[in-house]
């Protein structure tokens, strides 16, 4: 606007008018700031750093969606939507050409070009947290100012899924001082330049972060009208909810299942829930326990656990009982596999296996990682008691739990997993593949179950471009897991947000929990 004011000056050669115009603009601007729309939100975590490549976590990605823009992003219906990439075309089996949006500027004023995309992907390949995901990408070639070719080592069916993690960074701004440091300060962890809808104004880690609207944001079609965001991380569920109910904040995540009904009944507050692909499951360690090597015992355990009841009573219906790893929107989902509860049959199987009198096992679960995780674990211990398996349950805070998990410290261990790529194969790779420390395959396979055929199928599914064939390969894995009763799937968790009624959050939240706050509309009262 000031630039147009200067034009005015040049054209008219009349200082008086120019000055008057500038003055009126300044008053206009101040008037706007008076009616600025502020969003106060309280989530359970805040970004650990301003460097989008320092940690692959929910907080970092929420931050990336505010201050940066991805090349493409997921829509609520599971489709991919263009953002900084306007369209793309596969030109050889392993190369895809991306055409980029023009006239987009970084917060520093630098123009966004193909160089920035190439730079960002190379940096991602250096990041300890992200590089595993970008392993399949071999090189990025800049074709011209607004075109890049992304080459994969093989055919890459998940290329677009991976591209949702590319948030182009300002090459001119970062280059030469862009080291990624985990346990110390770096240039990128304190300064930031992205193309996103918001600009960081102030940050006190763990206490609050203030962002203001990027006035030159390229997406002028977005209806979003939030001028300022104040993000406060609040860890305790009850404090977070109280902050919303007392009107101190406008938007919170998550809401504990027991509070949902009460919150729904509060005046002026709405609750939005979305099913997610986050699977909760139990691993039965076959290396530690000879009993678990018997498929009949594993099947009996699967039959003795009543997923439906856990979901109804403990999660108050805010989850979907699971009989397999892949949620229904994932390609690997098999419709016919349903969670089954059948106590007599379970007892019969235990008898056949020679464990009529049962046995004693140890079990560990986290108590602050997943929704009501400790209560679910207690319910499971009780359910296993009915087939005479005595469970010594220990629940631990997540920091200690995952250390124990790495050591495979108990016979039964609980795990929750959300697929980063929104695809079944990611679940298989981490949860059930045969362990391989170097590649990270099977890193969370605490059952020590190892079927080489599954590893083969994972490899195949990582290359197969035909969606139907690909689905069949991954469904085959689910069927094998089900037949072997290799794991105990429990349920797919819901995400729950709550907000004041005048916030249109329903269209901007998604199951990965990266709300698109740039598009958020708040009705002014």
């Amino acid at each position: 606007m000031f630039i147009s004011a200067l034009h005015h000056l040049k054209l008219n050669h009349c200082r008086f008018f120019a000055r008057a115009f500038l003055l009126s603009i300044t008053t206009l601007l101040t008037c706007q700031t008076v009616s600025a729309v502020t969003l106060k939100m309280a989530f359970d975590a805040d970004p650990v750093s301003l460097d989008p490549h320092e940690q692959l976590s929910e907080g970092t990605l929420q931050f990336s969606h505010m201050v940066f823009d991805p090349l493409v992003r997921w829509k609520q219906n599971g489709q991919i939507e263009p953002r900084l990439a306007t369209h793309w075309k596969q030109i050889t089996p392993t190369t895809t050409r991306f055409f980029l949006r023009k006239h987009v500027h970084f917060q520093t004023g630098n123009l966004f070009t193909a160089e920035d995309v190439a730079y960002t992907i190379r940096r991602l390949k250096r990041s300890p947290d992200f590089r595993a995901m970008f392993d399949s990408i071999s090189s990025v070639v800049v074709i011209n100012k607004y075109t890049v070719d992304i080459r994969s080592t093989n055919t890459n069916p998940l290329l677009l899924n991976i591209m949702t993690y590319v948030f182009p960074m300002d090459k001119v701004f970062y280059q030469g001082r862009d080291e990624i440091i985990k346990f110390g300060n770096s240039f990128a962890s304190q300064r930031v330049s992205g193309t996103g809808p918001f600009i960081v104004q102030e940050r006190e880690p763990g206490v609050r972060m203030v962002l203001t609207r990027n006035k030159d944001y390229w997406d002028t079609k977005s209806k979003g009208n939030v001028d300022k965001i104040i993000l406060t991380p609040i860890k305790t569920d009850s404090t977070r909810l109280a902050a919303l109910l007392s009107g101190d904040v406008d938007f919170i995540f998550p809401v504990s299942p027991i509070d949902i009904e009460r919150t729904k009944n509060s005046k002026g507050i709405k609750i939005i829930t979305l099913p997610t692909g986050r699977i909760l499951l139990l691993h039965l360690n076959e290396k530690r326990r000879p009993e678990f090597r018997d498929v009949r015992v594993r099947r009996a355990i699967n039959l003795a656990i009543n997923q439906q009841l856990i979901v109804e009573k403990i999660l108050r219906g805010y989850a979907i009982p699971a009989g397999q790893l892949s949620a229904s929107k994932f390609l690997g989902h098999v419709d016919s596999i349903k969670p089954e509860y059948n106590l007599p049959k379970a007892l019969e199987l235990m008898k056949q296996a020679g464990y009529e009198k049962g046995f004693r096992v140890s079990m560990m679960a986290p108590n602050n990682r997943y929704m009501n995780d400790d209560k679910v674990a207690q319910a499971i211990a009780a359910m296993l008691g009915r087939i005479h398996i005595t469970v010594d349950l220990k629940t631990l805070p997540k920091a200690q739990y995952f250390q124990q998990y790495d050591e495979r410290a108990a016979d039964i261990m609980m795990l929750g997993w959300q697929s980063d790529t929104e695809d079944s194969n990611n679940l298989f790779e981490f949860i059930i593949a045969c362990q391989d420390a170097k590649s990270g395959l099977g890193a969370y396979n605490a059952s020590e179950y190892c079927a080489p055929s599954i590893n083969e199928d994972i490899k195949l599914a990582n290359r197969e471009m035909n969606p139907e064939k690909r689905a069949r390969i991954m469904q085959q894995v689910e069927i094998k897991l089900h037949n072997d009763a290799a794991i105990v799937p429990l349920y797919w968790q819901y995400n729950t947000w709550a907000a004041k009624n005048n916030l249109h959050i329903e269209s901007i939240v998604n199951d990965q929990n990266y709300p698109f706050l740039g598009d958020l509309v708040i009705d002014e009262k």
Binding site: V48, D129, T239
Partner: protein, 326 residues
């Protein structure tokens, strides 16, 4: 006096060394810091490498030695999460906790002293009976229930006070971000300081009452009555002074309780102070910060107790500190 202070200094250093050794010994039980600061998808090999770089694979003795060498120069390490020297992080959060504790102590002194005295002087009065009953209840109700109740009534239902955080702060002399000088800051202080005061109040009410009752039975008070001294002078000068001696001692010991309750109160109210910082550090396995917090709190303990002993000497000049080997 000087001898006394010097002795205390040596004591403080000794306490801190022991605390630092203990905090190092339990470090491995707290979890793996590397795991907490990385994505779940990072391969175990990669994590092992980072552990190696951070020196976490060395034995505890080696790690402690490395820590001690730096600590002598005043460097207690760098926080994994805040990425700043731990002492800077802690001292940045100190004002919030000090202000909260200060307000709570003001409330305790302002309410507990008159209530305790009243209950002692007029034991049959309806108000003093109520005070005694309430203090019994206060002793038995957990602090988080009090906090939840206060938040429900005063912020959710009545919208009188904010439910979390510290609100607006003003910088004083460039070294202290204070919430005491703005209306918003004071409003934010209401609920947390009442909660914290509630935890400490009952014990003081009961203590002052009991001590006062005992003192009122003593010979010199009877003598004062028979001498015909004015009632006010007997109660508030002669009796109260001697009542306060044990109260001050207990007050010093209660500093520990205060620290423990600030951790709880700050977590409930998302109060950005040291207690909240500590809880956060534990959940993130920010081990340098955890160790430094414990050391600093140990230091604060020694300091408060030194002050208590000094005040003791002021109230009762017959006490000679240096002679007691304190």
């Amino acid at each position: 006096m000087l001898v006394f202070l010097l002795r205390r200094l040596v004591q403080a250093i000794f306490v801190m060394i022991i605390i630092s050794a203990i905090s190092f010994a339990i470090q491995n039980k707290l979890g793996d810091p590397v795991q907490q600061h990385m994505s779940m998808t990072v391969s175990p090999t990669e994590r092992a490498q980072l552990r190696q770089e951070l020196g976490l694979n060395d034995s505890i003795v080696v790690q402690y030695w490395r820590f001690a060498k730096k600590a002598i120069h005043g460097d207690l390490g760098t926080s994994y999460y805040y990425k700043e020297p731990v002492l800077d992080v802690i001292f940045k959060k100190l004002p919030a906790t000090v202000e909260l504790a200060f307000c709570a102590i003001i409330i305790v002194i302002g309410i507990a002293t008159p209530c305790g005295i009243l209950a002692a002087i007029k034991p049959r009065n309806i108000v003093s009976r109520l005070v005694v009953a309430l203090s019994t209840m206060g002793l038995s109700i957990p602090i988080f229930i009090v906090a939840i109740f206060l938040v429900y009534v005063f912020s959710i239902k009545l919208h009188l006070a904010p439910s979390f955080g510290r609100g607006q702060t003003t910088n004083v002399f460039g070294l202290w971000d204070s919430g005491l000088f703005s209306k918003d800051g004071l409003r934010h202080l209401i609920l947390p300081s009442i909660t914290l005061a509630f935890a400490l109040m009952p014990i003081f009410v009961r203590l002052i009452r009991a001590e006062m009752m005992e003192v009122l039975q003593s010979d010199y008070i009877r003598f004062a009555w028979s001498k015909g001294l004015p009632t006010r002078r007997i109660y508030f000068i002669h009796a109260l002074k001697n009542t306060m001696l044990p109260v001050i001692t207990v007050g010093g010991i209660q500093a520990g309780t205060l620290v423990a309750y600030t951790i709880l109160t700050e977590s409930i109210f998302q109060w950005p102070g040291m207690g909240f910082l500590f809880m956060d550090a534990v959940s993130r396995v920010d081990t340098p910060l955890i160790a430094a917090y414990l050391i600093v709190v140990g230091g604060i303990f020694v300091i408060t107790n030194t002050f208590v002993d000094l005040i003791y000497g002021l109230v009762n000049p017959t006490v000679k500190l240096a002679n007691h080997g304190l």
